[in-house]
């Protein structure tokens, strides 16, 4: 009964993530690969990797933008990397924000880049919280129903 409620909660969370545009069909494909390929923990591993990598990249970008002379090429390279890994896990909103960020890098606008960084950070933290909730729910469901492993 409790497992069913948790599953319902998880489904509602995933549904809202899709409807809000936080994730796209690439994330759905990763879930399908996990379910059909019999690789438990596939999505958790990739999501965790993404969150760690994104955190590192955002910190690097922040450091670069604090410099007296900003190396916009390096900033662009990092944003490109974040965009790529976002696309790979299906983090649609972060990916789109990165695309806009890259345009500001081309314009070599420090203020614009700082604003874009704030938006990226906000979108990433929002997504990360949802991912963490998702993983917690999955763990709780597995605790009730180990056969799902």
């Amino acid at each position: 009964m409790a497992a069913a409620a948790l599953r319902e909660q998880l489904n509602a969370l995933l549904s809202s993530m899709f409807s809000q545009g936080l994730v796209d069909e690439q994330f759905q494909q990763l879930q399908m690969l996990q379910d059909e390929g019999g690789t438990p923990g596939f999505v958790a591993e990739v999501v965790t990797l993404f969150c760690d990598d994104a955190e590192r990249i955002i910190a690097e970008i922040a450091t670069l933008l604090e410099q007296p002379i900003v190396n916009f090429d390096k900033v662009d390279a990092y944003v490109h990397q974040l965009k790529g890994s976002s696309a790979s896990v299906g983090a649609q909103k972060v990916k789109f924000t990165c695309m806009q960020f890259r345009q500001l890098c081309q314009e070599k606008s420090r203020d614009g880049c700082l604003m874009a960084l704030a938006v990226v950070r906000n979108d990433f933290y929002d997504l990360r919280n949802k991912f963490q909730t998702m993983l917690q729910l999955e763990q709780q469901i597995l605790a009730y129903d180990p056969k799902q492993q």
């Binding site: 494909q29 390929g37 596939f42 591993e45 990739v46 990598d53 490109h80 890994s85 696309a87 790979s88």
Partner: protein, 229 residues
């Protein structure tokens, strides 16, 4: 190429500076074709060259295919591609380039440099068959372009020496053809999403034309005369 009984295992050297992309591709290849791919992942083109350089001439190559990202620091995937093709010109290792940027110029540049295929990231399950087709084992054993019985979706164009033609044209023409094919493929993928809308539009226009014709006949009295006849 290793063989486990009948199953052919393709050894893939995966080169990508993004740890997320490396892991996704590794899991994708192992899940989509379980046991068909053995993936060795490195995080830079430099490490890839070191790995490939360990295999001297005359010794069996341990890699059947290189799958590399285009944008990497220090040495790009394009530079790695050219270096690999120069490494063993008589028996080059197939190289497939991946990029998140769908630029026709970048695609044709890589194909002209000898890349067997160009895949737009993120890599998906449907792209795995393209990797199988481009592996050197399939290129030598299936020179007539036969796949393993699976048909590719119509919007996929596999570009490699084994499938272009039974008597392949000269290399320059082949590269040009491959370049055009890849550019058309990327365009067709984008256009295919409009086909349902286009079909409905054509139906609507046809219906309007028929209605117009009927009204014209009715107004000119032809319809009534036909009815009374």
């Amino acid at each position: 190429m290793e063989g486990r009984g009948r199953e052919v295992v393709t050894r893939v050297l995966l080169v990508d500076d993004s740890p997320v992309d490396r892991r996704v591709v590794q899991l994708l290849l192992s899940n989509t074709c379980a046991g068909s791919f053995h993936v060795i992942a490195v995080d830079s083109a430099k490490k890839a060259m070191e790995f490939l350089g360990l295999k001297e001439e005359g010794k069996e190559q341990a890699i059947d295919m290189v799958l590399t990202d285009y944008c990497m620091p220090e040495m790009t995937g394009y530079e790695l591609l050219k270096a690999i093709k120069a490494l063993s010109p008589l028996k080059p290792i197939p190289v497939i380039v991946m990029s998140s940027e769908n630029e026709p110029q970048r695609i044709s540049r890589c194909l002209n440099a000898g890349a067997e295929d160009f895949i737009v990231k993120p890599l998906q399950s449907k792209d795995v068959q393209r990797l199988r087709n481009c592996s050197s084992a399939l290129a030598t054993t299936q020179c007539k372009g036969e796949s393993d019985g699976k048909l590719l979706p119509s919007d996929h164009v596999v570009v490699d020496a084994a499938t272009v033609a039974e008597s392949p044209p000269p290399s320059r023409r082949r590269e040009h053809f491959a370049g055009v094919a890849m550019v058309l493929h990327t365009s067709s993928v984008e256009l295919s999403q409009y086909f349902p809308f286009l079909f409905k539009f054509i139906l609507l226009v046809y219906a309007i034309l028929c209605l117009g014709e009927l009204l014209h006949r009715w107004s000119s009295g032809c319809f009534l005369s036909l009815w009374c006849a």
